[in-house]
Every structure is written in C-alpha cells, then in structure tokens.
Symmetry: C2
Subunit: 356 residues, 2 copies
Amino acid sequence: MKKLINAVDDVIKEQLQGMAAAHPELRVNIDPHYVVRADAPVQGKVALVSGGGSGHEPMHGGFVGEGMLDGACPGEVFTSPTPDQIYECAKAVNSGAGVLLIVKNYTGDVLNFETAVEMAHAEGINIQSILIDDDVAVKDSLYTAGRRGVGGTVLAEKIAGGAAAAGYDLARCADLCRKVNQYARSMGMALTSCTVPAAGRPTFELGDDEIELGIGIHGEPGIERTKLKPVDEIVETMAAAIIDDGAYTRTVREWDNDDGVWVEKTLTDEPFKAGDQVIAFVNSMGGTPVSELYAVYRKLAEVCAARGLTIVRNLIGPYITSLEMQGCSITLLKADDEILKCWDAPVKTPGLRWGM
Amino acid sequence: MKKLINAVDDVIKEQLQGMAAAHPELRVNIDPHYVVRADAPVQGKVALVSGGGSGHEPMHGGFVGEGMLDGACPGEVFTSPTPDQIYECAKAVNSGAGVLLIVKNYTGDVLNFETAVEMAHAEGINIQSILIDDDVAVKDSLYTAGRRGVGGTVLAEKIAGGAAAAGYDLARCADLCRKVNQYARSMGMALTSCTVPAAGRPTFELGDDEIELGIGIHGEPGIERTKLKPVDEIVETMAAAIIDDGAYTRTVREWDNDDGVWVEKTLTDEPFKAGDQVIAFVNSMGGTPVSELYAVYRKLAEVCAARGLTIVRNLIGPYITSLEMQGCSITLLKADDEILKCWDAPVKTPGLRWGM
C-alpha cells in the first residue's frame, strides 16, 4: 500500500488537522471528529449537516462553508460516523432555526443518523433528515437496503445550501432536498480498486483488462464486470441506465418534529423525459484525472442531446471519491427554476466555490 | 493500459471537444489545437498565453478564462506544441495590447515558443515570453537544460492573469511574471508512474515499496529513489530542499520587442528567509486524492512555522498533473503585496475559480 500517510490509525485525524491548518474559515473538532463553519451557529439560518465514512473527499468536510454545509461528521474510512458524533455536530451548528441532516442511504449511516435525530430532538433541537438514494445501478447491495446514495448527494448539499442561505425554513429546505434526490440519478464505474488504509490491500480484485460497471463508492459490486471498452461505449451504457430508469418507488422514514415520531413516506421518482433541463455531473472516483472526465462529458453531452435532455449546468471533477480508485460516475439532475437558482447561488467551501 | 479513452490518436481532440461542450465561455480550436476565451481578444488588455504538452490538466487549458489565461496551446501528451500552433493562438487573443507567453523550461517548449515569438513579431504583434524554471530537484535533466518548470507555472498564470485584468501593460505583466518565477520554488515526488496513451505502458518502473523524490511532471528521474516513507518524512525532505535552496543563477533569453532581437539576462533568485510570507501550493500529480494532500499540508504548515515562514494563502488540489500518476508536489512562493493582490483578484476558469 502506497499512500501519503503516517500511521494507519492517525490517517483521518491528521487529514483533519491539515484541513484545519489550511482553512481557518472552518473549525475542526478532533474528538469526536467533525468540521463546522468557524462562524457557526449562523443566527436565523437553517443548519445543514452531512457525514458518512471518510475516503470520499472533498465530500463532506470539503463542502462545509458559506452557501453549502454548516457541518460534516467524517467516520473512519468507509465507516459510518457514530450517533454521538452526529449529535455533537448538529448541536454545534444549531442556531435555533433547525438542522437538516443529509444522509446517504447506507444501512450504518441510516441507523446512526436516525439515533442522532432522536438525541437532538430530546434536546429540543428542531431536526429533519433526508435520505439520498440516487444510484440506479443496484438495489439492496452490500451495506445498503434499497438504492445507494452517491453523486446526487453533492448536488443536494449545494442546492439545499443555497436554499438555507436564502432564508428557507427547515421544512422548505427538507422539501427541496427531497426533490433533488427524486430528480437525481447516478451510476459509477471503476477501472481499478482502491485500498482502505486499515486493510492495506485492494478492496476488490479487477483484472488488468477488466472494469466494473455500477460500482459503489466503497467498492461494492456493480452490475457487470466486463472487458475494458472505449469510453464512448461505457458512457452510453451508464447514460442509458440513468435516462431510462423508471418510476423508482421506495418507502423512507422521515422524522416528525411535532409529534416526535418517525413517519413512513412512499416516494416515487419521475423518469426523465425529452425536454427536461438537467445538471450534468461527471465525477472522478479519485484516481482518474480531469482530462479523462472531459472525454466522458463529450459523449454524455451527445447522448443527452440525442435524448432531448438539455444540459444547462455541469460539474466536472473529483467531488465524491473512493480514495484513489480510478473510474468515474455520472449524475443527471432534472433542474427546475428553484433548483437552478439554488445551484447558481454563491458558495465558498474548500471543495466547491463560485460567486465569492 | 486502462483509461477512459477511445482511440489513442483521438485522445487530445476528444478531451478538447468535451471541454468545448462543457464550457461555452471558451472557444476551442481543433486544427491546430488551442483554447481561448470566447470573448477574445479582450480590447485593451494584455493577453496571456501558455501551453505545453497535454497530460497536465487542468493546466493549461483549464486556466483559460477571466482573470487568468487568454489562451492555451496543448501539444500531444507530454509533447511541446508547435510554433504554428502557439503563433495562431497568440494571434487569436491579441487585442493590440500585446501578448505575454508563459513558458515552462523544457527544451522543446523553449525552442517552439521562441520560434512563435519571432513569427508573431514579424506580424507586428508586441510579444514577450517569460520562462518558468522553479523545480529545485534537479538541473539539466531529461528534456531540460537548467531547472524544470513545474508548480510555479500555475501561480504565475494566476498572478499575471490578475495583473493583466487590472490593466498592467505588457512590460509590467512580464516583470511580475518573472518575479513570481524568481520567488517560487517547487519539488515533486511520485508513488507510481503514469502511462502515456501512445506508449501504452508505464513511463518508468517503480517497485511496490518504492517512491521517487524530485520526479518531473513527465516522469523524468528525480534525485532519489527510496523506500516508501511516512508522509511527514517525505514532506520534511521536500520542504527542506525548497526552503534551503540557495541563490540559483541562470541566464535566460528574453525578446526585445523594440529591436527585434533576443537578449540574454542573468537572473539570480533570492533564497527564502525567516519572516517571509508565502503562498503554499500542495498539488496532486493526478492520481492522489485530496485527502492525502491534507496530510502533506499538515506537515508543510508545521515546517514552515518552524522555519519562520508565514503561509498567507494556500492552494490544495490537482492543478498541474502527470496523467494518473500518484504523488504530489509542493510549491512555495514568497508573496509580497503586489503578488497577493493579484492572487486574490477574481478568477473564473474551469480549473480555478473564486470571486466570480
């Protein structure tokens, strides 16, 4: 295992210390691990918190800042943060206007974020959580019941962040975040595995001429292991899976602040249709350079045009990674006026910045 | 070789087509290859042009835009652009206020940019070129007489770009760019090799437990091949080489527009000293994720503090890459008020953006 690290046990702590040194506009708490805006809590503003296993940087800690997250709780690599950790982070950013948790759909994350919701509620914090489950590749995979939360999370954090900065209240932030998830679909692929520091060896084996389509962000199996193909063929397969995805239905649990109970909601995503405007997000898994992402985008733009989808914004780069894995993911998000307005709003974080 | 590409011969063209599709604010010319601001030439503004072999993205094409470059000429992977290509690009961005070429010190680049200068001069274009040679690792390496141009190039492009946007004339832009080069020092290291598409196999061999200190951005040999070490030791070695570098002297050729001749200048860099303010740039070679760069930054900040250097700005991420090579480089730039003002100025490019 070759990485720029010291002792395996110190990896996350030292990366967070580096982040703290580089970004005085953030406050990094080491025990438990969380990252918040240095000016948190921001009076009158709904606070957004996300988190999950480390190894996906810049997500989530790199998205803390003006116009995006108020706080992020990184677990160990590919390991959920603890309920205490999430609760402490939520408490640190709550101004009284409420806290929205953005949770990727992995069983451990869901459990721990739900416990944190109950802890925060018991302390009188208005809290809601929205589940992100945008990965069309597989259902009920390793670590997950239902679909996995992937690239749509980055878009949800930016858009909900823009809304919170614009003064949306907690319920409206949650509604918008839920809508973004329902409008977003993603799929990933890997050229290589990645190596979790504590494991010291690749998470999975992939032949010298093989790729994995539909890979998860922790190296979970995808839908097809195949011989290496030209990028155009790979993108056609991924884009078709996203664009042709049907009316996906699932039941999620959301917290009712008034009654202090979980309520079940059945949500059905509307398929893409010709004439839709979309935000196109081409993401590096960490080890693939941006030059190759442009080859992906080239074909994606062709496919979208042929299918009647108009790309009105794009994001291209390493934003939700799997350590040094080589590969990419594609996310398409149907973009209405509200989503576009919140997307275009200024943002100033280590990982995403424009307008300030 | 596993990459997200189609035919090897089409790699650069298709990546540029993807860039064109993603960024309507740029104009991409396919034959010869160059990327310019869509609104070029910008009346009254000095135009900045850089270029070099492809494979270092986002440098240089990703730095074309408001507040940075007006144009970039990408050669084939790790291959200099041709004089014609550079000349055509310079002509496309020249508003009459003159063109500054920012040239990394590689023998092929220097020759071809010099020829382009003479071609542009013959057409009546006011033109100057500044050489970047900031790599303290080695002198007279493969492809280079003198020191190589590396991370300082990114900083020079941003700072000269801020100056040009602020209305500096050609001579002042050139003076500032030369100063940035004289104030900047860099060193790189590799955990892995990279694979040039046309070669189809790794540029060099590195054992499973080996790293190369002082690596060049084309995989040129460095100063030491050693066993893998903790990141803190690696950073100490690199930072010491940069901070302790002496008064480097070389003779460069610069173009005299009035007389239409090359003149030789002997330039001596001033060493860093305690009390200096610096911009610290921690760069990924392409395959190393940002999480590991934060571990590098953590130690770099410690070393700088211990040596009396105050880091006043930082840049952390993949900005001057070597395809999918794993590793990093460190650049320190002594920052005076003029440099800081131009660094902080707004920039809007695919690869670097703030303030707009």
